[in-house]
Amino acid sequence: MLELIDVWKVYRTGSVEYPALRGVTLRIEDGEFVAVVGPSGSGKTTLLNLVGALDLPTKGDIVLNGTSYTSLGRSGLNELRRKELGFVFQTFNLLSHLTALENVELPLIAAGVPRSERRRRALEMLARLGMENKASKKPTELSGGEQQRVAIARALVNNPSVILADEPTGNLDSANAKNVVELLREINKREGKTILLVTHNLEIAEYADRIVRMRDGRVESEVRRN
């Protein structure tokens, strides 16, 4: 279970303080697919970065499966990212000088997995996403949809419990966007991964179990579907 307890994030630029999150409280069950929507600047990316342990709340806490983020040190947060969390970005963010396979291997390299096992697991993951025949391609040789598939493979390869996706379909045409979100839905269903997905697109949000609407750093409303 993922819990956000009265999470605040205050950005400070010089002497100006800006509260991007103003007391967000959320409970997300294991295996739940949650879409976060809201106007630009409402704090969606900030929220995702905090859950992604890239940053700590100014106030409040985040607890993942009983582990409180604020009680973890830097190395604990690193380990959390390595083992429990997978990131998918709007701009894919594949390393351009590495092949698709090598990109998928990266999290395993960071985790110190031996080479042969790494290769096997990365290939397996690409195959599961139907990308095995693109393994040796560089990102520039792939379409946007293909790149995002590789990025999803990279997010999944460490077998994390939570996938964090910040507008993963934002740079894709509608057909590809649909493909990607269906893929995420399938992963969520089949493997029971918790998914937290930020989107502007309500059609995409429709795939989620729950839609959280944000405004001005607060949760404005929650709609539970089905």
Binding site: R81, F87, H97, A111
Partner: protein, 434 residues
């Protein structure tokens, strides 16, 4: 991350900007190549000179002279100004000392400036480096020092240096065949006791080649030509020689004999009386194979350390180049750093990744530098000022790991600051960076 993976990742980053990376290595290439060239040059030149000189300065021989004593110059007395002050009585005394086998003396005659040596009406001594006519005891030359022939036995014979013999052989039609000068008569012109003299003498011996030192010289029998005199306090005017050469009976006693002879000169010799009166600023200097060897070594190392300073400066410039490119790299790859952190790479991993990259650039530069340095070294030895003589070439396999190690270290040192900057980048900020 494991070191192996670091290397693979760093390598793939470097190959993204092949040309840029290559340019970055230039400073390292230049620095390391300079060092290798210098090591090659100096070790070859040093071995060569030492082998040649120890051949000429037999291990059982040393010389004593009165000359300018400069502090800290050690054996450099070899080339400094000397003045004739050693008397016949000094020679006789040294000859009688225990452990001394043989003694010889020498002094300089003042050669005619325009035509010191003439062969068949033609001046055969080129002015380069000056020309010397030396009066010396016939027993000064041993077989080791002679390339052809023997020493002179009287005033009608002469021994010449290799270069003089070569010039005469050239007049005879074949410069390479220096042995043909034996038996030929040459004319030597010099001033003796204020009087111009011109003598016809027969060449009976040719000395071995000593590159760059005393190349143009002819040697005449001491007793027939040398007549420089000084008045010794308490007695009349006596002949004074510039150098006394001493051969010891046994090389094992060399140092003892040498210090005993030096002690004699410093305390009770006539030369000391003259020195105190006429040249109080000068002192007794000794010259032997060991001192010559040390002198050569000193000179070569002086030169080498000078060039090595240039090399280290190049390394410094190279290191600044790497640091600069690495800073550019860090900025360019800000987003990538954010991604790496998001997928679980630690600050330490990012630090190591950039350090590895910088070290790899340094190591690549160094491995390019090794063949380049060797090439320049060979070029110097083959077409440089030493092209005439076949210098021994020193190339050692351990240069490769050593150079690569130094290159890697310089690279890593240059990468410390950029890598530290990279590791401190806030991942949230980095992920937004475009």
């Amino acid at each position: 991350m494991r070191p192996r993976e670091m290397l693979v990742l760093a390598w793939s980053n470097i190959t993204v900007h092949k040309f840029r990376s290559l340019l970055t290595t230039l400073g390292i290439v230049f620095g390391v190549a300079t060092v290798i060239t210098v090591i090659m040059m100096s070790s070859s030149v040093e071995t060569y000179f030492i082998s040649r000189f120890t051949d000429l300065f037999a291990p059982d021989t040393f010389s004593v002279a009165v000359g300018e004593v400069r502090s800290g110059t050690g054996a450099s007395g070899f080339f400094i100004h000397q003045t004739p002050m050693i008397t016949e009585r000094d020679l006789a005394h040294v000859r009688s000392m225990p452990g001394v086998k043989d003694v010889y003396a020498s002094g300089d005659l003042q050669p005619d400036v325009t035509s010191p040596i003439v062969f068949r009406g033609k001046v055969v001594s080129s002015g380069l480096g000056g020309f010397r006519i030396v009066a010396i005891s016939p027993n000064a030359f041993t077989e080791n020092q002679l390339l052809h022939g023997r020493s002179f036995r009287n005033g009608r014979e002469t021994v010449v240096t290799y270069d003089v013999a070569r010039r005469i052989a050239k007049e005879l039609g074949n410069e390479e065949d220096v042995a043909q000068v034996l038996g030929k008569t040459v004319e030597l012109n010099f001033v003796q006791g204020g009087v111009r003299r011109s003598v016809q003498v027969r060449i009976v011996g040719v000395l071995k080649e000593i590159p760059f030192v005393f190349q143009n010289a002819a040697y005449l029998n001491l007793d027939d030509y040398y007549d420089v005199r000084r008045t010794v306090p308490g007695s009349g005017p006596v002949r004074v020689f510039r150098v006394v050469g001493v051969r010891v009976s046994s090389v094992t006693e060399f140092d003892q004999v040498k210090s005993a002879v030096l002690e004699y000169f410093k305390t009770s010799s006539e030369a000391e009386k003259l020195r105190r009166r006429d040249a109080p600023d000068m002192g007794f200097i000794t010259i032997s194979a060991g001192e010559v060897t040390n002198f050569i070594r000193e000179q070569v190392q002086l030169f080498a350390s000078f060039v090595l300073q240039i090399g280290s400066f190049a390394l410094l410039v190279g290191s600044i180049g790497i640091a600069n490119i690495m800073l550019v790299n860090v900025t360019e790859r800000t987003k990538e750093i954010g991604v790496l952190r998001a997928i679980g790479a630690r600050q330490r991993d990012v630090l190591n990744l950039f350090l590895t990259e910088a070290g790899l650039i340094g190591a690549i530069g160094a491995s390019i530098a090794v063949p380049v340095g060797i090439l320049f070294g060979l070029l110097f030895l083959r077409v440089g000022p030493f092209s005439g003589v076949s210098l021994p070439v020193t190339i050692r396999p351990e240069w490769v790991p050593l150079a690569v190690g130094i290159g890697a270290l310089v690279g890593i040192a240059s990468g410390v600051y950029p890598a530290w900057r990279a590791s401190r980048i806030d991942p949230v900020w980095a992920l937004k960076y475009e």
